[in-house]
């Protein structure tokens, strides 16, 4: 049985390890920060469908400012990247953290497959059964990871 606190803990661990390994940024749990207070115009998201028992998918929402900063760090260059590159970053981060999350479950969710990630701009609505993990990156940027349940 996959209890919700356990799922949230593994989700956070996967997010933290992904961003710390790839972008050398610190990720901490945050419980009260509201994402999208500006209406979502400054946000981008990535989403990965999961083919597994009890789990449908995962979605990462981050401020544009943060994804630009992480991307520039990862590319280690001085030039600004095109918007498509930033969207690719959020998609790849979502893809990596979702896979890491599923591996962290250690087979408790059974066999699984991940779809090719989707990406976009704005603040997606959340519907259906889900869990939400709010975090703060480098003590500055609020982000949100949503785990969609069956």
């Amino acid at each position: 049985m996959l209890e919700e606190p356990y799922l949230l803990e593994q989700l956070y661990n996967a997010l933290r390890e992904t961003i710390e390994t790839m972008a050398f940024a610190e990720v901490m749990l945050d419980e009260g920060t509201a994402l999208g207070e500006s209406g979502g115009s400054d946000l981008v998201w990535g989403r990965v469908a999961i083919k597994a028992d009890l789990l449908q998918g995962a979605e990462l929402v981050v401020p544009v400012e943060l994804i630009e900063s992480l991307t520039d760090t990862m590319y280690a260059g001085d030039e600004r990247q095109a918007q498509e590159v930033y969207l690719d970053t959020v998609a790849e981060l979502t893809n990596t953290l979702t896979g890491k999350f599923m591996l962290n479950l250690g087979g408790k969710a059974g066999s699984f497959m991940l779809a090719v990630p989707d990406k976009g701009c704005g603040l997606p609505d959340i519907s259906g059964r889900h869990l939400v993990c709010h975090c703060m990156v480098d003590e500055t940027h609020p982000i949100r990871v949503v785990l969609f349940l069956e």
Binding site: E17, T18, T21, M22, T71, M74, Y75, V85, D88, T89, A91, E92, N95, T96, T98, G99, K100, M102, L103, G107, S111, F112, M113, L114, A115, V116
Partner: protein
């Protein structure tokens, strides 16, 4: 100079893989990128390839099908393949091992993990 094909639908992932490979001893290699398995096969046929590093989940031809086609090709069979993936359930991993994959790494990767995988693919006697 070794020729390395990197296949992943994410440009960021390809860049990250390349950086790790360069840091861990392949700084002088010729890197060729592909956004899916179909492109990877085309790149591999253009010139002798010393290593393929590929994701599993890709559009058009995915990593598992790519591996099947490589094994089935008299020309490409024998090229070492390193799979770097965020996904990969046990059924896929078992099939990859049966097909003779050189290694399967889980994302997020880091230079030490890549270095260890490369040491098994390119023994010290052969060098990088």
């Amino acid at each position: 100079m070794k020729r390395v094909v990197i296949a992943d639908d994410s440009a960021l992932a390809r860049m990250f893989l390349r950086r790790c490979l360069e840091i861990t001893g392949l700084s002088e290699a010729l890197f060729v990128e592909a956004a899916n398995g179909e492109e990877a096969l085309e790149r591999m046929k253009e010139a002798p390839t010393d290593l393929l590093v590929t994701d599993l989940t890709m559009p058009k031809v995915d990593g598992l099908e790519l591996m099947r086609r490589i094994v089935a090709s008299p020309r490409l069979n024998g090229v070492p393949v390193l799979v770097v993936t965020s996904a990969g359930n046990e059924v896929q991993r078992d099939e990859l091992r049966q097909l003779g994959v050189a290694g399967i790494l889980s994302k997020p990767i880091s230079p030490p993990i890549v270095a260890e995988a490369l040491s098994l693919i390119f023994p010290l006697s052969e060098g990088l």
